[in-house]
Subunit: 298 residues, 2 copies
Protein backbone atom coordinates (compact mmCIF):
# COMPACT_ATOMS: atom_id res chain seq x y z
CA UNK A 1 0.00 0.00 0.00
CA UNK A 2 1.25 3.48 -0.80
CA UNK A 3 2.34 5.54 2.21
CA UNK A 4 0.76 8.99 2.11
CA UNK A 5 2.17 12.14 3.65
CA UNK A 6 0.87 15.63 4.23
CA UNK A 7 2.84 18.77 3.46
CA UNK A 8 2.40 22.44 4.32
CA UNK A 9 4.32 25.14 2.52
CA UNK A 10 3.79 27.75 5.24
CA UNK A 11 4.46 31.16 3.74
CA UNK A 12 3.87 34.60 5.17
CA UNK A 13 1.32 35.32 2.42
CA UNK A 14 -0.25 31.93 1.74
CA UNK A 15 -0.27 28.35 2.91
CA UNK A 16 -0.16 25.53 0.36
CA UNK A 17 -1.26 22.12 1.65
CA UNK A 18 -1.04 18.82 -0.17
CA UNK A 19 -1.31 15.09 0.39
CA UNK A 20 0.94 12.94 -1.75
CA UNK A 21 3.35 10.04 -1.90
CA UNK A 22 5.48 11.59 -4.67
CA UNK A 23 5.36 14.35 -7.33
CA UNK A 24 3.48 11.93 -9.59
CA UNK A 25 0.91 11.12 -6.93
CA UNK A 26 -0.50 14.35 -5.48
CA UNK A 27 -3.93 13.30 -4.19
CA UNK A 28 -5.26 16.60 -2.87
CA UNK A 29 -4.02 20.16 -2.83
CA UNK A 30 -5.35 23.41 -1.46
CA UNK A 31 -4.03 26.90 -0.89
CA UNK A 32 -5.37 29.73 1.24
CA UNK A 33 -4.23 33.10 2.59
CA UNK A 34 -2.18 33.32 5.74
CA UNK A 35 -4.45 35.10 8.25
CA UNK A 36 -4.28 34.62 12.02
CA UNK A 37 -2.30 31.64 13.30
CA UNK A 38 -5.38 29.93 14.80
CA UNK A 39 -7.53 30.35 11.70
CA UNK A 40 -4.75 29.37 9.30
CA UNK A 41 -3.74 26.24 11.19
CA UNK A 42 -7.43 25.29 11.53
CA UNK A 43 -7.78 25.43 7.77
CA UNK A 44 -4.76 23.19 7.38
CA UNK A 45 -6.03 20.72 9.99
CA UNK A 46 -9.44 20.56 8.29
CA UNK A 47 -7.76 19.96 4.95
CA UNK A 48 -5.76 17.02 6.30
CA UNK A 49 -8.83 15.54 8.07
CA UNK A 50 -10.79 15.65 4.81
CA UNK A 51 -7.83 14.13 3.00
CA UNK A 52 -7.62 11.28 5.50
CA UNK A 53 -11.33 10.53 5.06
CA UNK A 54 -10.95 10.40 1.29
CA UNK A 55 -7.53 8.76 0.92
CA UNK A 56 -6.72 6.99 4.18
CA UNK A 57 -4.44 7.89 7.04
CA UNK A 58 -1.29 9.97 6.75
CA UNK A 59 2.02 8.63 8.03
CA UNK A 60 3.19 12.14 8.90
CA UNK A 61 2.95 15.81 8.00
CA UNK A 62 5.80 18.16 7.13
CA UNK A 63 5.89 21.94 7.53
CA UNK A 64 8.31 23.99 5.42
CA UNK A 65 7.92 27.30 7.18
CA UNK A 66 8.71 30.97 6.88
CA UNK A 67 10.91 32.06 9.75
CA UNK A 68 12.82 32.53 11.78
CA UNK A 69 11.94 29.25 13.49
CA UNK A 70 13.29 27.22 16.41
CA UNK A 71 14.72 23.91 15.23
CA UNK A 72 16.63 22.82 18.35
CA UNK A 73 15.00 19.57 19.45
CA UNK A 74 15.87 20.18 23.10
CA UNK A 75 14.55 23.75 23.17
CA UNK A 76 11.33 24.57 25.08
CA UNK A 77 10.24 26.55 22.01
CA UNK A 78 11.10 23.84 19.44
CA UNK A 79 8.61 24.06 16.58
CA UNK A 80 7.84 27.74 17.11
CA UNK A 81 7.94 30.57 14.62
CA UNK A 82 10.07 32.94 16.72
CA UNK A 83 10.79 36.63 16.07
CA UNK A 84 8.82 37.32 12.88
CA UNK A 85 7.44 40.86 12.46
CA UNK A 86 4.27 39.29 10.98
CA UNK A 87 1.43 40.37 13.34
CA UNK A 88 0.21 37.57 15.62
CA UNK A 89 2.76 35.02 14.44
CA UNK A 90 5.73 35.80 16.70
CA UNK A 91 6.33 33.00 19.23
CA UNK A 92 3.63 30.81 17.72
CA UNK A 93 3.90 27.06 18.31
CA UNK A 94 2.99 25.96 14.79
CA UNK A 95 4.19 22.37 15.24
CA UNK A 96 2.26 21.98 18.51
CA UNK A 97 -0.91 23.47 17.03
CA UNK A 98 -0.81 21.14 14.06
CA UNK A 99 0.02 18.10 16.16
CA UNK A 100 -2.94 18.83 18.45
CA UNK A 101 -5.19 19.03 15.40
CA UNK A 102 -4.01 15.89 13.65
CA UNK A 103 -2.15 13.35 15.75
CA UNK A 104 0.69 12.29 13.44
CA UNK A 105 4.46 12.86 13.48
CA UNK A 106 5.32 16.37 12.27
CA UNK A 107 8.50 17.25 10.34
CA UNK A 108 9.56 20.87 10.55
CA UNK A 109 12.18 23.00 8.87
CA UNK A 110 12.76 26.25 7.02
CA UNK A 111 11.09 26.73 3.65
CA UNK A 112 14.46 26.59 1.94
CA UNK A 113 15.54 23.40 3.71
CA UNK A 114 12.22 21.92 2.66
CA UNK A 115 12.85 22.87 -0.95
CA UNK A 116 16.37 21.46 -0.65
CA UNK A 117 15.06 18.12 0.65
CA UNK A 118 12.45 17.99 -2.11
CA UNK A 119 15.18 18.41 -4.74
CA UNK A 120 17.23 15.74 -2.98
CA UNK A 121 14.30 13.32 -2.92
CA UNK A 122 12.92 13.85 -6.43
CA UNK A 123 14.87 16.59 -8.22
CA UNK A 124 18.31 18.00 -9.00
CA UNK A 125 20.08 16.66 -5.91
CA UNK A 126 19.07 12.99 -6.17
CA UNK A 127 21.85 10.66 -5.06
CA UNK A 128 23.98 13.43 -3.54
CA UNK A 129 24.84 13.62 0.14
CA UNK A 130 26.38 17.09 0.26
CA UNK A 131 24.77 19.94 -1.67
CA UNK A 132 23.39 23.45 -1.32
CA UNK A 133 20.04 24.80 -2.44
CA UNK A 134 19.90 28.57 -2.69
CA UNK A 135 16.79 30.60 -3.37
CA UNK A 136 17.28 34.08 -4.83
CA UNK A 137 14.07 36.09 -4.77
CA UNK A 138 12.53 38.57 -2.33
CA UNK A 139 15.27 37.42 0.02
CA UNK A 140 18.17 35.02 -0.34
CA UNK A 141 18.23 31.84 1.71
CA UNK A 142 20.11 28.59 1.62
CA UNK A 143 19.87 25.06 2.88
CA UNK A 144 20.93 21.58 1.91
CA UNK A 145 22.69 18.56 3.30
CA UNK A 146 26.17 17.73 4.55
CA UNK A 147 26.84 13.99 4.35
CA UNK A 148 23.09 13.42 4.45
CA UNK A 149 22.43 15.70 7.42
CA UNK A 150 20.73 19.08 7.51
CA UNK A 151 22.67 22.05 8.83
CA UNK A 152 21.03 22.72 12.20
CA UNK A 153 23.78 23.72 14.52
CA UNK A 154 23.09 26.79 16.58
CA UNK A 155 19.95 27.83 14.66
CA UNK A 156 19.86 27.39 10.90
CA UNK A 157 21.91 28.76 8.01
CA UNK A 158 21.43 32.36 6.93
CA UNK A 159 23.36 32.04 3.69
CA UNK A 160 21.91 35.25 2.29
CA UNK A 161 23.82 37.25 4.86
CA UNK A 162 27.41 36.33 3.97
CA UNK A 163 29.67 39.33 3.37
CA UNK A 164 31.38 39.75 0.02
CA UNK A 165 33.82 42.00 -1.81
CA UNK A 166 32.06 45.16 -2.95
CA UNK A 167 33.68 47.21 -5.67
CA UNK A 168 32.15 50.61 -4.88
CA UNK A 169 33.52 52.18 -8.08
CA UNK A 170 31.84 49.63 -10.32
CA UNK A 171 28.69 49.45 -8.19
CA UNK A 172 27.99 52.37 -5.83
CA UNK A 173 24.70 50.82 -4.64
CA UNK A 174 25.10 50.54 -0.83
CA UNK A 175 22.87 47.48 -0.47
CA UNK A 176 19.43 47.25 1.11
CA UNK A 177 19.79 44.75 3.95
CA UNK A 178 18.54 46.56 7.06
CA UNK A 179 21.04 44.61 9.18
CA UNK A 180 24.14 44.42 7.02
CA UNK A 181 23.80 46.79 4.08
CA UNK A 182 25.84 45.11 1.37
CA UNK A 183 25.67 41.42 2.32
CA UNK A 184 24.70 38.95 -0.45
CA UNK A 185 20.98 39.51 0.08
CA UNK A 186 21.49 43.27 0.33
CA UNK A 187 23.19 43.29 -3.08
CA UNK A 188 21.58 40.49 -5.09
CA UNK A 189 17.97 39.87 -3.97
CA UNK A 190 15.11 40.89 -6.25
CA UNK A 191 14.37 44.06 -4.22
CA UNK A 192 18.08 44.98 -4.27
CA UNK A 193 18.13 44.75 -8.07
CA UNK A 194 14.94 46.83 -8.27
CA UNK A 195 16.29 49.49 -5.92
CA UNK A 196 19.65 49.69 -7.73
CA UNK A 197 18.13 50.11 -11.21
CA UNK A 198 14.77 51.73 -10.45
CA UNK A 199 12.84 48.98 -12.20
CA UNK A 200 11.79 45.45 -11.46
CA UNK A 201 14.37 42.73 -12.12
CA UNK A 202 11.90 40.89 -14.35
CA UNK A 203 11.68 43.93 -16.67
CA UNK A 204 15.46 44.27 -17.20
CA UNK A 205 16.51 42.84 -20.60
CA UNK A 206 19.08 40.06 -20.83
CA UNK A 207 21.82 42.38 -22.11
CA UNK A 208 21.40 44.94 -19.31
CA UNK A 209 24.53 45.61 -17.18
CA UNK A 210 22.45 44.62 -14.14
CA UNK A 211 23.02 40.95 -14.90
CA UNK A 212 26.81 40.99 -14.93
CA UNK A 213 26.70 42.71 -11.54
CA UNK A 214 24.15 40.20 -10.27
CA UNK A 215 26.28 37.29 -11.49
CA UNK A 216 29.31 38.79 -9.75
CA UNK A 217 27.70 38.78 -6.29
CA UNK A 218 26.11 35.38 -6.76
CA UNK A 219 29.45 33.97 -7.88
CA UNK A 220 31.23 35.41 -4.83
CA UNK A 221 28.57 33.83 -2.64
CA UNK A 222 28.84 30.43 -4.34
CA UNK A 223 32.64 30.48 -4.16
CA UNK A 224 32.38 31.03 -0.41
CA UNK A 225 29.90 28.18 0.00
CA UNK A 226 32.14 25.91 -2.10
CA UNK A 227 35.19 26.77 0.00
CA UNK A 228 33.29 26.36 3.26
CA UNK A 229 31.66 22.97 2.82
CA UNK A 230 32.64 21.50 -0.55
CA UNK A 231 29.17 20.73 -1.95
CA UNK A 232 28.75 18.19 -4.76
CA UNK A 233 26.25 20.49 -6.48
CA UNK A 234 24.68 23.96 -6.10
CA UNK A 235 21.02 24.39 -7.01
CA UNK A 236 19.86 27.96 -7.61
CA UNK A 237 16.12 28.64 -7.44
CA UNK A 238 13.84 31.56 -6.70
CA UNK A 239 12.32 34.31 -8.81
CA UNK A 240 15.56 36.00 -9.84
CA UNK A 241 16.94 32.73 -11.26
CA UNK A 242 13.99 32.50 -13.65
CA UNK A 243 16.31 34.67 -15.73
CA UNK A 244 17.97 31.60 -17.21
CA UNK A 245 20.68 33.68 -18.92
CA UNK A 246 22.14 34.23 -15.42
CA UNK A 247 23.33 30.63 -15.15
CA UNK A 248 26.13 30.78 -17.74
CA UNK A 249 27.27 34.15 -16.34
CA UNK A 250 27.41 32.79 -12.79
CA UNK A 251 29.14 29.54 -13.83
CA UNK A 252 31.88 31.33 -15.76
CA UNK A 253 32.50 33.80 -12.94
CA UNK A 254 32.70 31.01 -10.33
CA UNK A 255 35.37 29.32 -12.42
CA UNK A 256 37.28 32.59 -12.81
CA UNK A 257 37.13 33.37 -9.10
CA UNK A 258 38.19 29.88 -7.99
CA UNK A 259 41.01 30.09 -10.52
CA UNK A 260 41.46 26.30 -10.72
CA UNK A 261 42.28 26.14 -6.99
CA UNK A 262 39.71 23.42 -6.35
CA UNK A 263 41.06 20.69 -8.65
CA UNK A 264 37.92 18.77 -9.44
CA UNK A 265 36.41 17.96 -12.80
CA UNK A 266 32.91 18.90 -11.62
CA UNK A 267 34.06 22.51 -11.37
CA UNK A 268 36.79 22.60 -14.01
CA UNK A 269 34.97 20.70 -16.79
CA UNK A 270 31.35 19.98 -15.87
CA UNK A 271 30.21 23.21 -14.32
CA UNK A 272 26.97 23.15 -16.33
CA UNK A 273 25.94 20.18 -14.17
CA UNK A 274 27.50 21.63 -11.02
CA UNK A 275 25.53 24.89 -10.81
CA UNK A 276 21.99 24.09 -11.89
CA UNK A 277 18.34 25.18 -11.62
CA UNK A 278 15.91 23.15 -9.50
CA UNK A 279 13.76 20.64 -11.37
CA UNK A 280 10.61 20.35 -9.25
CA UNK A 281 8.97 23.50 -10.61
CA UNK A 282 5.77 25.03 -9.25
CA UNK A 283 5.12 22.28 -6.66
CA UNK A 284 8.64 22.51 -5.20
CA UNK A 285 7.55 24.18 -1.95
CA UNK A 286 4.85 21.75 -0.94
CA UNK A 287 6.82 18.73 -2.20
CA UNK A 288 9.62 19.88 0.06
CA UNK A 289 7.17 19.77 2.95
CA UNK A 290 6.18 16.23 1.93
CA UNK A 291 9.88 15.27 1.96
CA UNK A 292 10.15 16.72 5.49
CA UNK A 293 7.23 14.51 6.52
CA UNK A 294 9.03 11.46 5.13
CA UNK A 295 12.17 12.37 7.08
CA UNK A 296 10.16 12.80 10.28
CA UNK A 297 9.33 9.10 10.34
CA UNK A 298 12.57 7.84 8.74
Amino acid sequence: MTTLFGGIEAGGTKFVCAVASSPQDIRLREEFSTTTPAETVDQAVNFFRRAQQAHGSLAGVGIASFGPIDLRPASPTYGYITTTPKPGWANFDIVGALRRGIAVPVGFDTDVNGAALGEWRWGAAQGLNTFIYLTIGTGIGGGGLVDGRRMHGLVHPEMGHVRLPHNWQADPFPGNCPYHGDCLEGMASGPAIEKRWGQRASSLPAGHPAWAIEAEYLAFGLVNFICTLSPQRLILGGGVMKQAHLFPLVRRRVQELLNAYVQDAHILEQIDEYIVPPTLGAQAGVLGAIALAEQAIA
Copy 2:
Protein backbone atom coordinates in the same frame (compact mmCIF):
# COMPACT_ATOMS: atom_id res chain seq x y z
CA MET B 1 41.33 -3.86 28.41
CA THR B 2 42.23 -0.45 27.00
CA THR B 3 41.88 -0.17 23.23
CA LEU B 4 45.03 1.36 21.74
CA PHE B 5 45.23 3.37 18.53
CA GLY B 6 48.05 4.71 16.41
CA GLY B 7 48.17 8.22 15.02
CA ILE B 8 50.32 9.97 12.43
CA GLU B 9 50.42 13.73 12.15
CA ALA B 10 51.76 13.73 8.59
CA GLY B 11 53.23 17.14 7.88
CA GLY B 12 55.30 18.35 4.97
CA THR B 13 58.26 18.96 7.29
CA LYS B 14 57.92 16.27 9.94
CA PHE B 15 55.87 13.24 10.89
CA VAL B 16 54.73 12.79 14.50
CA CYS B 17 53.65 9.27 15.44
CA ALA B 18 52.04 8.17 18.68
CA VAL B 19 50.23 5.26 20.24
CA ALA B 20 47.56 6.14 22.79
CA SER B 21 44.06 5.58 24.04
CA SER B 22 43.55 9.20 25.16
CA PRO B 23 45.54 12.40 25.90
CA GLN B 24 46.23 11.01 29.40
CA ASP B 25 47.51 7.71 28.05
CA ILE B 26 50.13 8.33 25.37
CA ARG B 27 52.24 5.17 25.45
CA LEU B 28 54.84 5.95 22.82
CA ARG B 29 55.66 8.93 20.67
CA GLU B 30 58.26 9.67 18.02
CA GLU B 31 58.88 12.34 15.45
CA PHE B 32 61.11 12.40 12.40
CA SER B 33 61.72 14.49 9.29
CA THR B 34 59.58 14.02 6.21
CA THR B 35 62.02 12.67 3.60
CA THR B 36 61.00 10.41 0.68
CA PRO B 37 57.57 8.78 0.88
CA ALA B 38 59.02 5.26 1.08
CA GLU B 39 61.54 6.06 3.80
CA THR B 40 59.09 8.16 5.83
CA VAL B 41 56.30 5.58 5.77
CA ASP B 42 58.85 2.85 6.62
CA GLN B 43 59.83 4.77 9.72
CA ALA B 44 56.17 5.07 10.73
CA VAL B 45 55.53 1.36 10.11
CA ASN B 46 58.58 0.40 12.18
CA PHE B 47 57.41 2.69 14.98
CA PHE B 48 53.98 1.03 15.10
CA ARG B 49 55.48 -2.48 14.95
CA ARG B 50 57.73 -1.67 17.93
CA ALA B 51 54.73 -0.18 19.71
CA GLN B 52 52.69 -3.32 19.15
CA GLN B 53 55.46 -5.49 20.52
CA ALA B 54 55.68 -3.35 23.65
CA HIS B 55 52.02 -2.46 24.25
CA GLY B 56 49.87 -4.96 22.38
CA SER B 57 47.98 -4.73 19.13
CA LEU B 58 46.49 -1.55 17.73
CA ALA B 59 42.80 -1.40 16.79
CA GLY B 60 43.52 1.10 14.01
CA VAL B 61 45.78 3.88 12.83
CA GLY B 62 44.77 7.42 11.81
CA ILE B 63 46.60 9.75 9.44
CA ALA B 64 46.00 13.49 9.67
CA SER B 65 47.76 14.55 6.52
CA PHE B 66 49.08 17.55 4.66
CA GLY B 67 47.32 17.89 1.33
CA PRO B 68 45.62 18.13 -0.93
CA ILE B 69 44.39 14.57 -0.43
CA ASP B 70 41.72 12.35 -1.98
CA LEU B 71 38.97 11.54 0.52
CA ARG B 72 36.30 10.15 -1.82
CA PRO B 73 35.77 6.55 -0.71
CA ALA B 74 34.76 5.45 -4.22
CA SER B 75 37.73 7.08 -5.95
CA PRO B 76 40.52 4.91 -7.41
CA THR B 77 42.97 7.30 -5.74
CA TYR B 78 41.29 7.35 -2.32
CA GLY B 79 43.92 7.72 0.36
CA TYR B 80 46.42 9.45 -1.92
CA ILE B 81 48.22 12.73 -1.41
CA THR B 82 47.35 14.28 -4.76
CA THR B 83 48.77 17.47 -6.33
CA THR B 84 51.30 18.61 -3.73
CA PRO B 85 54.38 20.44 -5.03
CA LYS B 86 56.47 18.53 -2.43
CA PRO B 87 59.02 16.50 -4.48
CA GLY B 88 58.17 12.79 -4.66
CA TRP B 89 54.90 13.06 -2.75
CA ALA B 90 52.43 13.92 -5.55
CA ASN B 91 50.06 11.02 -6.23
CA PHE B 92 51.43 8.98 -3.35
CA ASP B 93 49.16 6.31 -1.87
CA ILE B 94 49.93 7.00 1.78
CA VAL B 95 46.97 4.99 3.12
CA GLY B 96 47.83 1.98 0.97
CA ALA B 97 51.51 2.11 1.92
CA LEU B 98 50.70 2.22 5.62
CA ARG B 99 48.09 -0.51 5.36
CA ARG B 100 50.56 -2.78 3.58
CA GLY B 101 53.07 -2.21 6.38
CA ILE B 102 50.71 -2.73 9.32
CA ALA B 103 47.49 -4.59 8.62
CA VAL B 104 44.94 -2.57 10.62
CA PRO B 105 42.07 -0.23 9.62
CA VAL B 106 43.36 3.21 8.59
CA GLY B 107 41.50 6.49 9.19
CA PHE B 108 42.48 9.33 6.88
CA ASP B 109 41.67 13.02 6.69
CA THR B 110 43.19 16.48 6.39
CA ASP B 111 45.40 17.73 9.21
CA VAL B 112 42.79 20.32 10.13
CA ASN B 113 39.92 17.82 10.19
CA GLY B 114 42.12 15.66 12.40
CA ALA B 115 42.69 18.56 14.78
CA ALA B 116 38.95 19.30 14.71
CA LEU B 117 38.10 15.70 15.62
CA GLY B 118 40.67 15.72 18.41
CA GLU B 119 39.03 18.82 19.92
CA TRP B 120 35.65 17.16 19.53
CA ARG B 121 36.83 14.00 21.27
CA TRP B 122 38.83 15.50 24.13
CA GLY B 123 38.91 19.31 23.84
CA ALA B 124 36.92 22.46 23.15
CA ALA B 125 34.21 20.83 21.01
CA GLN B 126 33.20 17.99 23.34
CA GLY B 127 29.47 17.31 23.19
CA LEU B 128 28.88 19.46 20.09
CA ASN B 129 27.65 18.06 16.81
CA THR B 130 28.15 21.13 14.58
CA PHE B 131 31.31 23.20 14.94
CA ILE B 132 34.20 24.65 13.01
CA TYR B 133 37.90 24.39 13.78
CA LEU B 134 40.02 26.97 12.00
CA THR B 135 43.79 27.08 12.00
CA ILE B 136 45.42 30.43 11.27
CA GLY B 137 49.14 30.07 10.70
CA THR B 138 51.32 29.63 7.62
CA GLY B 139 48.04 29.05 5.82
CA ILE B 140 44.42 29.15 6.90
CA GLY B 141 42.39 25.95 6.88
CA GLY B 142 39.15 24.79 8.39
CA GLY B 143 37.30 21.64 9.26
CA GLY B 144 34.79 20.38 11.76
CA LEU B 145 31.49 18.54 11.92
CA VAL B 146 27.94 19.14 10.72
CA ASP B 147 25.47 17.11 12.78
CA GLY B 148 28.29 14.73 13.61
CA ARG B 149 29.54 14.31 10.04
CA ARG B 150 32.71 15.61 8.46
CA MET B 151 32.42 17.92 5.45
CA HIS B 152 33.58 15.73 2.57
CA GLY B 153 31.41 16.59 -0.34
CA LEU B 154 33.23 17.19 -3.57
CA VAL B 155 36.71 17.27 -2.03
CA HIS B 156 37.18 18.91 1.37
CA PRO B 157 36.66 22.44 2.69
CA GLU B 158 39.10 25.18 1.76
CA MET B 159 37.85 27.70 4.28
CA GLY B 160 40.98 29.83 3.99
CA HIS B 161 39.98 30.78 0.48
CA VAL B 162 36.65 32.53 1.10
CA ARG B 163 36.40 36.05 -0.37
CA LEU B 164 35.75 38.99 1.91
CA PRO B 165 35.16 42.72 1.81
CA HIS B 166 38.46 44.53 1.35
CA ASN B 167 38.62 48.20 2.27
CA TRP B 168 41.52 49.25 0.06
CA GLN B 169 41.75 52.73 1.64
CA ALA B 170 42.19 51.34 5.14
CA ASP B 171 44.38 48.43 3.98
CA PRO B 172 46.10 48.78 0.59
CA PHE B 173 47.84 45.38 0.98
CA PRO B 174 46.75 43.37 -2.10
CA GLY B 175 46.97 39.98 -0.41
CA ASN B 176 49.49 37.21 -1.01
CA CYS B 177 47.41 34.21 -2.10
CA PRO B 178 48.88 33.10 -5.44
CA TYR B 179 45.43 31.96 -6.57
CA HIS B 180 43.07 34.62 -5.19
CA GLY B 181 45.09 37.58 -3.95
CA ASP B 182 42.94 38.96 -1.15
CA CYS B 183 41.02 35.90 0.06
CA LEU B 184 41.02 35.23 3.83
CA GLU B 185 44.34 33.37 3.70
CA GLY B 186 45.80 36.02 1.42
CA MET B 187 44.97 38.73 3.95
CA ALA B 188 45.19 37.10 7.37
CA SER B 189 47.69 34.21 7.38
CA GLY B 190 50.99 34.61 9.21
CA PRO B 191 52.93 35.25 5.96
CA ALA B 192 50.30 37.85 4.89
CA ILE B 193 50.79 39.74 8.17
CA GLU B 194 54.56 39.56 7.74
CA LYS B 195 54.43 40.81 4.17
CA ARG B 196 52.02 43.64 5.00
CA TRP B 197 54.08 44.99 7.90
CA GLY B 198 57.60 43.92 6.98
CA GLN B 199 58.10 42.02 10.21
CA ARG B 200 57.04 38.70 11.66
CA ALA B 201 53.56 38.60 13.22
CA SER B 202 55.04 37.27 16.46
CA SER B 203 57.18 40.41 16.80
CA LEU B 204 54.30 42.90 16.45
CA PRO B 205 53.24 44.30 19.85
CA ALA B 206 49.66 43.90 21.09
CA GLY B 207 48.77 47.57 20.47
CA HIS B 208 49.99 47.55 16.83
CA PRO B 209 47.37 48.49 14.20
CA ALA B 210 48.09 45.12 12.54
CA TRP B 211 45.84 43.37 15.02
CA ALA B 212 42.69 45.39 14.41
CA ILE B 213 43.11 44.68 10.69
CA GLU B 214 43.75 40.99 11.40
CA ALA B 215 40.64 40.80 13.60
CA GLU B 216 38.59 42.47 10.86
CA TYR B 217 39.37 39.78 8.26
CA LEU B 218 39.03 36.93 10.71
CA ALA B 219 35.66 38.32 11.85
CA PHE B 220 34.42 38.59 8.26
CA GLY B 221 35.48 34.98 7.72
CA LEU B 222 33.77 33.76 10.88
CA VAL B 223 30.58 35.68 10.09
CA ASN B 224 30.46 33.91 6.73
CA PHE B 225 31.00 30.49 8.30
CA ILE B 226 28.29 31.25 10.89
CA CYS B 227 25.82 32.30 8.18
CA THR B 228 26.68 29.30 6.01
CA LEU B 229 26.37 26.43 8.46
CA SER B 230 25.33 27.76 11.87
CA PRO B 231 28.06 26.18 14.03
CA GLN B 232 27.56 25.76 17.78
CA ARG B 233 31.14 26.92 18.39
CA LEU B 234 34.18 28.19 16.50
CA ILE B 235 37.62 27.07 17.63
CA LEU B 236 40.55 29.16 16.42
CA GLY B 237 43.99 27.58 16.54
CA GLY B 238 47.32 27.95 14.74
CA GLY B 239 50.36 30.13 15.29
CA VAL B 240 48.68 33.49 14.71
CA MET B 241 46.07 32.79 17.40
CA LYS B 242 48.82 32.36 19.99
CA GLN B 243 48.35 36.15 20.17
CA ALA B 244 45.61 35.73 22.78
CA HIS B 245 44.68 39.43 22.62
CA LEU B 246 43.18 38.70 19.20
CA PHE B 247 40.27 36.77 20.68
CA PRO B 248 38.42 39.73 22.28
CA LEU B 249 38.98 41.82 19.13
CA VAL B 250 37.57 39.08 16.90
CA ARG B 251 34.62 38.37 19.20
CA ARG B 252 33.56 42.02 19.39
CA ARG B 253 33.86 42.50 15.64
CA VAL B 254 31.82 39.34 14.91
CA GLN B 255 29.03 40.71 17.11
CA GLU B 256 29.20 44.10 15.37
CA LEU B 257 29.13 42.56 11.90
CA LEU B 258 26.24 40.18 12.67
CA ASN B 259 24.39 43.17 14.19
CA ALA B 260 22.10 40.96 16.31
CA TYR B 261 20.71 39.30 13.18
CA VAL B 262 21.34 35.79 14.50
CA GLN B 263 19.18 35.90 17.64
CA ASP B 264 20.94 33.41 19.83
CA ALA B 265 22.36 33.88 23.32
CA HIS B 266 25.57 32.04 22.41
CA ILE B 267 26.44 34.92 20.09
CA LEU B 268 24.65 37.81 21.79
CA GLU B 269 25.65 37.07 25.40
CA GLN B 270 28.14 34.21 25.62
CA ILE B 271 30.52 34.95 22.79
CA ASP B 272 33.54 34.29 25.05
CA GLU B 273 32.51 30.63 25.00
CA TYR B 274 31.44 30.74 21.35
CA ILE B 275 34.75 31.77 19.77
CA VAL B 276 37.47 29.97 21.68
CA PRO B 277 41.04 28.66 21.48
CA PRO B 278 41.67 24.90 21.22
CA THR B 279 42.48 23.11 24.47
CA LEU B 280 44.61 20.13 23.39
CA GLY B 281 47.85 22.10 23.11
CA ALA B 282 51.09 20.71 21.73
CA GLN B 283 49.78 17.17 21.15
CA ALA B 284 46.70 18.36 19.21
CA GLY B 285 47.95 17.18 15.82
CA VAL B 286 48.78 13.61 16.75
CA LEU B 287 45.76 13.29 19.07
CA GLY B 288 43.63 14.32 16.11
CA ALA B 289 45.15 11.43 14.18
CA ILE B 290 44.31 9.10 17.08
CA ALA B 291 40.71 10.38 16.94
CA LEU B 292 40.66 9.59 13.20
CA ALA B 293 41.76 6.04 14.02
CA GLU B 294 38.91 5.69 16.51
CA GLN B 295 36.45 6.89 13.86
CA ALA B 296 37.81 4.42 11.32
CA ILE B 297 36.57 1.49 13.40
CA ALA B 298 33.44 3.22 14.83
